[in-house]
């Protein structure tokens, strides 16, 4: 489905990605983990056309999409939820959602989907006409996640959806991702909430120093003592994370 071949790239003169290669199959969830600053978000930017790639290739369904613009990527069925806060501050919640489906040809369908996601995140309906900037941090994140679900994507790139979400909503988001995967959508996710994320994923990917260190079934990574020691807070095989 998605394949990265030996990607090098970075910001200005600094090379951050030093040969990232991996491929993920269709209809799977892959979680990327790694220390802060490893380059996880940078990989997502590289895929989505937001980074100058010095060398290497990004293949989507076998076709070379290296250097495509974000608009082209959306056209090919890829959506992206970046890290941090990404709402349009002065537009209402509803209009923010509407923007999520701006590229769709069938606006009627978008409207229906908006109703669906508002059922899923009732807060959105409650605050439908408030400016997005007025929402709390977690509410804004809900809005963003909901917005990414409005199109019918083939591939979702989602960068740390759990930041700021309350535990029950993290579960809700993860459940939604699982349902999507079951419908055939491919999901590539970064999570620091790594133990619960890996627990629901098919594959795990460890990134360090801008290089892929490990790529394996999620369960195997969870069980790997070195991974636990280095990236999962040192409590290998300990009690499962709350939430």
């Amino acid at each position: 489905m998605l394949e990265l071949k030996n990607i090098y790239g970075g910001y200005g003169k600094i090379t951050i990605l030093n040969g990232v290669s991996f491929s993920i199959p269709k209809a799977s969830i892959t979680t990327v983990i790694g220390p802060n600053g490893a380059g996880k978000s940078t990989v997502f930017k590289a895929i989505f056309g937001l980074l100058d790639i010095q060398s290497g290739q990004v293949l989507l369904d076998g076709k070379d999409v290296t250097g495509n613009t974000p608009r082209q990527m959306i056209g090919k069925g890829v959506t992206y939820v970046p890290q941090g806060r990404n709402v349009v501050p002065q537009l209402s919640v509803y209009h923010n959602l509407e923007l999520g489906g701006i590229t769709a040809t069938d606006q009627e369908q978008v409207r229906q989907r908006i109703e669906t996601v508002m059922d899923q995140f009732p807060m959105l309906r409650q605050f439908r006409d408030r400016k997005a900037i007025e929402l709390s941090g977690g509410q804004q994140k809900q809005l963003e996640v909901a917005r990414a679900l409005l199109l019918d994507p083939k591939l979702i790139l989602i960068d740390e959806p759990s930041i700021g979400l309350s535990p029950n909503l993290v579960q809700e988001v993860f459940q939604t991702l699982i349902r999507l995967r079951d419908r055939g959508v491919t999901i590539l996710m970064v999570e620091q909430n790594a133990r619960s994320a890996l627990a629901m994923s098919d594959y795990g990917l460890v990134l360090e120093l801008g290089q892929t260190r490990m790529h394996d079934e999620a369960a195997k990574l969870l069980a790997d003592p070195r991974v636990g020691q280095l990236f999962l807070g040192g409590h290998v095989g300990g009690e499962a994370a709350e939430g």
Binding site: E160, N168, L230
Partner: protein
């Protein structure tokens, strides 16, 4: 008995029809690590902003060490030893990591004038470097803080909170985006600091593992009001909290 380090009485705040904080009162005593949790939009950040002078509350009082500080500006509160972090990333993007951290401490050293005529770093470089090393950012010491990754900025933010040697720190989601290993370090550091200096912490966090293992007492907020209060064990077992927040 000593006055509580922080005493919040009946704070209320609403935004055009929405009541964000609805009469919240609680005390925090010296040396406590208090957790503040609750669903998204329950008013936690707003409460912090009201306590710390970033937002004027509609009503209620705040006292620090027995002294009424309602309406006091954030910078003055900070000089009383009250530090905080923000939920959003809030480093100074076009300043180096080192400068960010020195800045967090400099206003506590000497008078305004002595800061003009004294040394350029107010004598804080060594202390700042220790913190940078602890958070594994040494290689980024002279990098502009704005070009760090999300988690790294979060760490710089946390480091700044330690810089002034405060007696009370309010942390708004310090763990979000921080790698689990680093998070363990942060937690240990907070606990050690608390034990060593008797510093009091109030922590908003959605990461339950972090909250439960760090905090001595937890307050749960929902729709602007306190719905539960107790030890981590009590909270974990509280059905109302599970329904409103933790989920099944």
């Amino acid at each position: 008995m000593n006055a509580p380090v922080l005493s919040v009485r009946n704070i209320r705040k609403s935004f055009g029809g929405i009541t964000a904080v609805n009469g919240v009162s609680f005390d925090v005593h010296k040396g406590e690590i208090l957790g503040l949790i609750g669903p998204n939009g329950s008013g936690k950040s707003t409460l912090f902003n009201c306590i710390l002078g970033q937002l004027p509350p509609d009503g209620g009082d705040v006292a620090v060490n027995g002294r009424n500080v309602s309406g006091m500006r954030a910078s003055d509160l900070n000089k009383l030893g009250v530090g905080r972090t923000f939920q959003q990333l809030s480093v100074f993007p076009k300043m180096s990591v080192l400068d960010n951290i020195i800045l967090a401490g400099q206003e506590h050293h000497g008078s305004m004038l002595s800061r003009l005529f004294g040394p350029g770093d107010a004598g804080l470089t060594a202390e700042a470097e220790k913190l940078i090393a602890f958070f594994r950012l040494t290689h980024l010491r002279d990098t502009l803080a704005g070009s760090l990754s999300y988690g790294q900025q979060k760490l710089v933010d946390a480091a700044m909170a330690f810089m002034a040697g405060p007696s009370l720190v309010l942390l708004d989601e310090p763990a979000g985006g921080v790698n689990l290993t680093m998070l363990t370090g942060l937690k240990d550091r907070l606990a050690a600091y608390n034990a060593e200096h008797g510093t009091t912490f109030v922590v908003i966090e959605h990461n339950m593992e972090f909250v439960m293992s760090l905090c001595t007492r937890i307050i749960v907020l929902a729709e602007g009001s306190i719905i539960a209060e107790g030890t981590p064990e009590e909270i974990r077992a509280n059905q109302t909290v599970i329904d409103a927040y933790l989920g099944g």
